[in-house]
Symmetry: C2
Subunit: 208 residues, 2 copies
DNA sequence: ACATTTGCATACATACGTGAATGTAAAAAA
DNA sequence: TTTTTTACATTCACGTATGTATGCAAATGT
């Protein structure tokens, strides 16, 4: 084959990443060879080794296409809201909506269920980073809620934070085991609303 | 080497499983060969293929040593308790205590973070089975709690069940990312108690 | 006591995946 | 236009994992 133009080259790079997502999702990361990815994209391994240094590099590039910090999601919701609890609600709503997009769904499923650490990449660390980021944000919002007197009396900020973090994490993992079974956005928001109602001082506003 | 007696053979089988746990935990399932496992146990691959049909079979045998259904854990707590909420508390207490045992910790870590589906084995299905079992039990206990009027008014049985299930799942996954960081029994029971207090009609008894 | 089976170790055949080296034709630079 | 990169394709050398076949001495059955 002949050489491609710059735009075409970028297109094949995207095609390789797309192919990687699909084959990784179907067969797991360890069981797929670079040859299989290349063939799935209509290329050869030569193309893979040209655009990426090795399998770990390709994997990392795949992850980089879908990373989304929690704060960015909050910012994405637009206007700033008076209640930090409402901010949390909207942030997670954005987050859960994102997860239902096919690309994000696939990559997250790969990260959680279809890869183990290999080379110099540790998916566990990636998960820990995402979780920590989320926890920090939650801590901030719930801390402010506490100062504003929005939380039910007798419940510590830390407890409320950790409970919500665990709920999110649990919903996320349970859903990812079978993403086609139900909508994480629907069921997730129902649970988050319920929990927010449980920990709010005035239960009528957030209970939906 | 010479042939071993029946007891010795059973001992090497256990040794192989022990070695599998250790090497799987250190390097991940996909990246460890049967040769490595055998050498780690002081044997050769011949022993592995004698006791197990292949890697998937060995993996399954390893899992079978630590499986423990939720109902069995509840039964293990001894006397039956009047309140279904208290039963849930005690069941999870047993469960979390088990998880802190080195063997269980290691195998669970392997199942969640150090393997992807391979051959005819799907760790995701194993997880789903465990989660489903737990969910069914919870549904039963919370259903009875609802009938007994133990739950706070305005909260549906299904909501309470799913919230608790998500919390357990979340605690579990978060802890497994770094089991040495803290005690899942301590932190987990704190959260479970807090949540039980939140959903109980009379908040003074379960809030500790 | 002898035959048989068991519990492995060893050897072999096969397949596959990687990474690097090399080839090459067209695009981009000069 | 000529030269130089670029964007891959092809080939090769190497290591490594798997499954099976075979060997063998001691334990076990008779």
């Amino acid at each position: 084959m002949a050489r491609r133009t710059k735009a075409e080259a970028e297109a094949t790079r995207e095609a390789l990443l797309e192919a990687a997502e699909e084959v990784f999702f179907e067969k797991g990361v360890a069981r797929t060879s670079l040859e299989q990815i290349a063939r799935h994209a209509g290329m050869t391994r030569g193309a893979v080794y040209w655009h990426f240094h090795n399998k770990a590099d390709l994997f990392r590039a795949m992850l980089d296409r879908v990373r989304m910090p929690f704060e960015a999601l909050v910012a994405e919701t637009g206007a700033s809201h008076p209640s930090p609890l409402e901010t949390v609600r909207l942030g997670f709503q954005q987050s859960l909506l994102r997860m239902e997009q096919p690309r994000h769904r696939r990559v997250l499923a790969i990260l959680i269920h279809r890869c183990e650490f290999f080379g110099d990449i540790d998916p566990c660390a990636v998960q820990a980073e995402m979780a920590g980021e989320c926890l920090d944000a939650l801590e901030g919002y719930f801390g402010e809620a506490q100062r504003l007197g929005l939380l039910k009396e007798g419940i510590a900020t830390e407890t409320a934070t950790r409970l919500m973090q665990a709920i999110i994490s649990g919903i996320f993992h349970d859903w990812l085991r079978d993403p086609d079974a139900y909508s994480i956005h629907e069921r997730g928001m129902a649970l988050i609303n319920a929990q927010l109602a449980l920990i709010s001082r005035d239960e009528t506003d957030t209970s939906r």
